[in-house]
Structure formats: C-alpha cells, structure tokens
Symmetry: C2
Subunit: 342 residues, 2 copies
C-alpha cells in the first residue's frame, strides 16, 4: 500500500501483461476474464494513473491556463466563474496565473506554454508589447486573448467595445443635464486605460462639450488609488457635477471620497463606473455602471479555446461583446432602493 502502484504492479497481481492492463483501463476490447482480473487488481491496489507519464505519451496535459493581472479584481473573478465550469465539464483543470500586471511575468507565462503543462491559455494582458506579439506568433498552443489585439495576431480574441461603453456613460450623464463630467482613469499605457481615455475625449466632442484636460485624473485601477485620484479631481474642479470612473473599483473609491466630502450622490455628483461587477449593487448608492460583459467574455473565451483545441487548424476568430449601460441610483435618484413608491 505504501508503494505507488503502476500498471506493472497491476500486471503482476493480475498475471497478465502491462499491455492488457492498459487496454482494459482504456476500455479497449478484451476478454471478460482478463478485464475482471485487471479491474479487481486495480481496485485492490488503489491504482491511479500517473498524469505525467500519460502527458508525456499523449502530449496533452488536460490543463488550461488563465492569466490575469490580479486575482483580486472582481472582473476576473466573474470570468473565472464562467471559465472554470466549462473546462471542468470538458475534463480540463484550470491553472491560475496572477501576473501583477507585470509584462515580464506575462511573457513568462507565454514561454511556459512551451513547457506544455497547459494545452491552451486564456490571457488578459494589461499592456500589449511587441514581445507579446512575438510570443503569440511562436506559441505552440492555442491562445485566447481577452482585450483588443491587432487584426493579424494569430490568436483568438474576445473584445468589448469600450469606446461605445464610455460613450454610453457620457451620454447618460450628459442627458441628466451634467456638464462638468470628470474622468478618473487607470494608467494610460495600459490597453483599457488608453482606449477609455480616447473614448472619453471623443464622446465629449460628439456631444459638443469642450475637452478640459483638468477634468481627468489618472491613477491605477484600484479602490484606494481611485479615492486619491477622485480627491485630487474634486480639489481642482469644485464644480464637478458628474464623475465617470474607468472601472468599478475606482468608482468605489470615489464614492468613499464624495461621502467624506459631504457631496451627495447623485444629487451633487453623479457617479458611474465600468465593468458592472457584483459589487455595484452592494455599494451605496448602488452604482451605475457600464457592463462590459465580463461573464460573457469569459464564456466566449472558454468556448473559443475549447473549440480551437478540437479544431487546431482553424483561423483565428474575434468575438465582440457589446457594452450595456446599467443605470442605478448613483446617477438616478429615482432608483434609490427602499425609496420607491410602495
């Protein structure tokens, strides 16, 4: 019992060859008698196939990787919730990589594809460098990138139209009569940071509002720094009447600051986030947010990867998820819970 049983052990106990053991274990046609002997020996010895040996032979690990910046962000969590069961049902295990938004780390993960410990990878690079693209091209296993990627990149791609998303939010705030619409963004050298920055300027222009650089503050994508950035903005633009945040976490930080500053949300300052995480309905007031379809993107990515694993030679595909504005009380006072008409 203390020795790790292998097919050789089973073969000895059952008095057959290892080939027969392997056949029985893999459901290939065998005489009933042989099958019985093998199965009972296997059960008795507590045999479990060794995955390393199996992988070496089969050239498949039955694992897929998921690489994101930080497991602490609920957006990624929403994706994992979709991805995990899909792969589990398909017989794959999920290997997690939290890269801390570090490019070198992401490249490491891509290099890891060559080790063949995963059969495929879903990745969300926060910054997309030439090195990423080189590795994509050289990769020996299928990759799905969530987030925009150049047209000719040899990877499947799930994207969301964050430009349209930002526009939805800005138009909504404008429609509420707000004219001093601030913007708290994450780093401009990140894929989402850059896209949302451009989209913000564009949306203002489309509405005939002037673009005022003083209305933007840049921090990172987390609550604490979001709070600091919002505080800076509030300090410099006292007559701010609306605030768009590049993600929900930033918006939560902004809500903290506005509350401490005694500004009423939404009456004084309307606040909108992006990602529409679970937490939006928990915040006070509940947060208006642009859904970028995290769950859908996760599901799409998983399905693309699964398909590609079975259909290796097909051309790269792009799936786009449409953003959707979810209006809650942080911009619309009539939606404050508990204050509806009975």
């Amino acid at each position: 019992m203390t020795e790790e049983p292998t097919i050789t052990t089973i073969a000895q106990h059952a008095g057959v060859s290892i080939a027969s053991v392997s056949r029985v274990l893999n459901g290939l046609p065998t005489k009933a008698e042989t099958e019985r002997k093998v199965m009972s020996a296997a059960r008795e010895l507590g045999y479990v196939p060794n995955s390393a040996a199996r992988s070496l032979k089969s050239r498949r690990s039955n694992q897929i990787g998921f690489a994101m910046a930080d497991i602490g962000n609920p957006v990624y969590l929403a994706m994992i919730r979709e991805i995990q069961p899909i792969f589990k049902a398909a017989g794959y295990r999920l290997v997690l990589h939290s890269t801390d938004a570090d490019t070198a780390d992401e490249i490491d993960v891509l290099r890891g594809l060559g080790e063949r410990y995963i059969d495929g990878l879903i990745m969300i690079p926060l910054r997309l460098t030439g090195e990423h693209l080189t590795m994509f091209a050289a990769a020996r296993a299928p990759i799905v990138v969530i987030g925009s990627v150049p047209e000719d990149a040899p990877v499947d791609n799930v994207r969301t139209d964050s430009r349209a998303g930002v526009r939805l939010a800005v138009e909504h705030l404008h429609g509420l009569g707000r004219r001093r619409i601030g913007f708290v963004n994450g780093p401009l050298d990140t894929v989402p940071g850059a896209a949302r920055s451009a989209a913000y300027a564009e949306a203002l222009a489309a509405l005939g509002l002037p673009y005022d650089p003083g209305l933007t503050q840049v921090g990172d994508f987390y609550r604490a720094e979001g709070a600091r950035a919002a505080a800076r903005l509030l300090d410099r633009v006292p007559d701010l009447d609306a605030l768009l945040c590049a993600n929900d976490l930033i918006a939560f930080g902004a809500l903290d600051v506005l509350r401490r500053a005694g500004r009423r949300v939404p009456q004084d300052v309307a606040v909108a986030g992006m990602d529409d995480t679970d937490l939006a309905t928990l915040a006070w007031p509940p947060l208006t947010s642009v859904s970028l379809g995290s769950a859908e993107r996760g599901r799409a990515a998983a399905e693309l990867l699964l398909d590609k694993l079975e259909n290796t030679r097909r051309a790269p595909r792009v799936v786009t998820v449409e953003p959707r504005l979810v209006v809650r009380a942080s911009t619309d006072p009539s939606r404050i819970p508990g204050e509806e008409a009975p």
Copy 2:
C-alpha cells in the same frame, strides 16, 4: 522551428551528447566551451524543457491544488490572494478546483492527488465525511485542510475558533441593548453551519438569554437566499432588533431586505456578518463583521504546505487563527461614514 526542440535536437546542433545538454541546462559543472555551444543552440532553437518528462523523472509536478466550494465567494478569493504569491515565489503553480460544495467532487480531487499532477493540496471541505478521512489517510501527497478536522487526521489543519467568533458578535449585540437577536445560518450539515449554530445557542445561554428556535432561519451561504431567509425571519419575528448572519454574503442579502422593509440599520435592527470580507466596507451601512482571518488562514495554509513539502516526515500541525470583531456602522450608528465630527 515548427518541430518541438528537445535536448536531443540541441545535442545534434551543438555536436555533443544529450547528457552534456542536460548537465549544462541543470547547471552542473561543464567545460566552458561545451556550455557555450549548448546554450547558444538552446537559445537559437527556442528550447523549453518539457514539464511532463521532467515530472515523470523527478516525481514532482511543481503544482499545488486549491479546492474550495465556490470561487464566487470572496472569502476564498481573499485566501487565494495570499496563497498564490507564496507558491509562485516558491516555484509552484496553482491549480484551482471549485467543487460546488459537492462531496463527490471533493473526493475526486482527493483521488486526483494520486495522479500526481499536484505535489500538495489545500482544501476547504464544506462537509466532512468519513470518505474524506479515509482519503486523507490514503493520500500520497501532503494535504492542508482549512476548517476543523478530527485530532488524529493525518493532515495539517488551519482552523478558526468560530465558536469564539459567534460569541464576540452576540455579546456585542447584547451589549448594545438588543435582546431579540436573530440568526440566519447556512445548511446545518456543513462544518461551519453546524459550528455556528451550536455557538449561537451557547452564546445566548452564557448571556442568560432564552434560546428561541423561532429566531433562527436556515438557508445557504449566498446573498439571494440570505435575503429570503432574512425575510422569513422578519416576517415571523416582527420585533427583531438584531440579526447575526453566518457570513457576509447572507448579511448583504439581509441588508437588502431590511432596506426594502423600511427598517433602519442599525437603529431598528443591528446587523452583523461573519468573514469580514472586502465587501463589508462597501455595503451600506458598512457591515460589522467577525473577521475569521481569511488572509491569515490562507497564508498559514500555504506556509504549512510549503514546509511539509520540504519536510515530508514531520507530524501534522494545527494552526488556529483567533477571530476578531470589526465594528462598523451596521451595528454602531456613531460610525456612519461622512457623519463623523470633522
């Protein structure tokens, strides 16, 4: 470039034997000239070692598993946030298992230990069956269980004194002058459900309060069902003046219901949760919660497992994390943010 390079390929290109290649790659003493040739060939060919072959030889996968009921619960997220970097730094990858609180699934994971695709496992069983204990005893790789486990189980164990935690909360509510203290719990056949149920009764008794079965409602551990259970409770006990919830998610559901019912928190009903998740500070009002040290438990589990991997023969250890009451506005009106004295 299209053929997967192996040490054999490198050996050919460098004009040396595969043994030399292996030595160079593993930093064993070699002539400088040989080393140079091998390294340059390896780089040129884009060689990456095959992890299956390496695992087969070394009998180590450099992966560790983390099995929890549901990746959607922020408690587990808090743990992963601690666990992941610790193992990453130690050269291990993290394989995730979301078992849906399904015992059969958990047993599968334990059986998977035999496949040797992970070198160790951190597990949080929601229910602990005899089958679990059998598998623990038979396991061929170290296991750390988060959550209580019998004394003689051959696994490391990280626990929290949830009994003391419940008592802290009940005493706090009692100290606020509340006497009708309801309890919304998760399933009684789960480890935490059973423990918290007993602890609740005990704490009441210690305070000389009568135990009224009507004051308890059982649902599951999620927000939606937490809301329904709280609604049932409110319906049957109109004079409820305090509510202890078995975890934060349940408490969030309860807050939703109380708000819709027009009950002021904490003035009419004081609400406390357990786990002290990140989300507690996001809720409105911010949630008083019993911290069960999720981060500490995650860290402790990771460190125990890492230690056991290097020190295979040592006896099982138990680490206990003390609960701590974190008082916020959902029980203490003086702490409502934005209403402090300036």
